[in-house]
């Protein structure tokens, strides 16, 4: 009921107040202006999006974009400086912490989809990944059909796992599907021979292979199965804040400033191990940079 009453009260207040009151700040922008601080939620091991480096600093591609957004917010609010507080989140805590106002932006690798938009809002997509599999070269898996009747793994609670389950039934592949707790463990299952292939967002697979003990023994499937747009998360029903954030990201894309940031994290060696992921910008993401979108519908990225 509160969500119904609040806009009504706000509308009444606006109607009674002076016309100048229309300029007054609401929601997250007001909170940032009043406190002079913004809290960014970050992940701990989501390389290269948001993670702790070897000096225990939070770094990453999404963090760089978020700091640009903070600059834009500072200009919008005409503040001398905004303190940035960092708050680590996990996949289980990010929604409650966003809803109760602990974090204002979640800077990581969260997939933007329509289901999740019922709970949070997403700004313009900052990365487009695809669902692929990683397997050992020695197991000779060239296509999905080669995995017929084999054991495969994905991380529990991911859209990749959902797709895999559906496709298994649709194509009658008879694969045994295992759900691992996290990416590292799923990868370990393939490494130790418990599963033949691990289905996940390809950027995470590239990163896992690059950090593996013997990167040469791995191969990543050439076929991309589904498209996953990543977005920076913010609170729902805060259009003024979303507009500032969206504009900041759009500006980053339009001005071409995104290119050095992208190169820094995907085409150059990154901490902590100095490994180069060497993943050029995908055609799907180039399309987003040309025409910024915050759509949670995968079809918009094909």
């Amino acid at each position: 009921m509160r969500t119904f009453i609040l806009p009504v009260v706000a509308a009444l207040a606006l109607a009674v107040a002076q016309p100048a009151a229309a300029q007054e700040l609401t929601g997250t922008l007001k909170k940032i202006k009043d406190t002079g601080t913004i809290t960014l939620g970050h992940r701990d091991t989501s390389i290269p999006f948001s993670y702790y480096d070897d000096k225990q600093q939070v770094v990453g591609y999404a963090m760089d974009i978020c700091l640009r957004i903070v600059d834009a917010i500072k200009n919008e609010l005409k503040l001398q400086k905004v303190d940035v507080k960092l708050n680590p989140v996990t996949s289980a805590t990010r929604i409650p912490l966003m809803a109760n106002g602990t974090i204002d932006l979640e800077c990581g690798s969260t997939t933007n989809n329509l289901e999740r938009q019922k709970q949070v809002a997403f700004t313009i997509t900052h990365y487009v990944t695809a669902n692929r599999y990683v397997a050992k070269k020695a197991s000779k898996v060239d296509k999905l059909a080669d995995l017929k009747g084999k054991t495969v793994v994905s991380t529990s609670g991911t859209t990749n796992l959902k797709w895999l389950t559906e496709e298994n039934q649709k194509q009658n592949l008879g694969m045994n599907i295992v759900a691992a707790k996290d990416h590292a463990e799923a990868f370990l299952m393939v490494e130790t021979g418990r599963a033949q292939a691990f289905f996940m967002d390809d950027i995470l697979l590239y990163s896992l292979v690059a950090n593996a003990r013997n990167p040469g023994e791995w191969m990543i499937g050439s076929e991309a199965y589904t498209v996953e747009p990543y977005g920076i998360m913010l609170r729902r029903e805060d259009p003024a804040f979303k507009k500032v954030v969206d504009n900041a990201v759009a500006q980053l894309y339009k001005s071409g400033q995104i290119n050095p940031i992208y190169e820094k994290w995907f085409l150059k060696p990154v901490p902590p191990k100095g490994i180069n992921l060497n993943v050029p910008m995908s055609p799907q993401f180039k399309k987003v940079v040309a025409n910024p979108t915050d759509s949670g519908d995968p079809a918009a990225y094909q």
């Binding site: 289980a92 054991t151 295992v178 707790k181």
Partner: protein
Amino acid sequence: MKYNWNWGIFWQPAADGSGTWLHYLLVGVVWTLATALAAWVIALAVGSVIGVMRTTPNRWAVRFGNGYVELFRNVPLLVQMFLWFFVLPEVVPQALGDWIKQMPPPWSAYFPAVLCLGFYTAARVAEQVRAGIQSLPRGQMMAATAVGFTLAQAYRHVVLPQAYRIILPPLTSEFLNIIKNSSVALTIGLLELTARARSMQEFTFQVFEAFTAATILYLLLNIVIVFGMRWVEKRLAVPGLIAVGGAPQAGH
């Protein structure tokens, strides 16, 4: 708080296409129970043997029992789960290791989880069995051997029937613990209740609804166990055995 409550989510189809989200969680309850009950059987059997060993006059049996308890009690359950699942198949002969690893899911996660929980809880049960036996007056054992019982007979007919009755309340706590500890099996991919609640919140982002449901289901499960064990306690009570000298019965 800007949260979009949606209790109707439980009647919406689950992501794996097996039914509603409620059904998805209830299947998790079945796996939680199947894991905990099988592990409890191991825990009681192994725990009793180890506990008795620690009270026998044989010094080596006592040392072995003590070693077992300290090893399994002092290593975090999470680490033990990892060792059973990932390390065990690598240290056994390769053919056996491959056979373990090729086991079809969910059994490949279920069996390590049951063994891990069973042997871990056995260490705690052993500690209680030992305490139960040692809480009896020394004269009990002496009297039994004096009338010609062998050591095994003295345990079987005199010491253990009393010791088990004394430790029933703490055993109830261990039973409740094993239900709750079974959630650690989610780390090796067993889709029990907690794992399913987590997976539900990942798909739907309805995190509070998912974990509220899991909380209520655990609570109901454990209340049933508490009442079940109380019934067992009453059923087995021998008047005057525990409340010697009118001492109040220990709660738990």
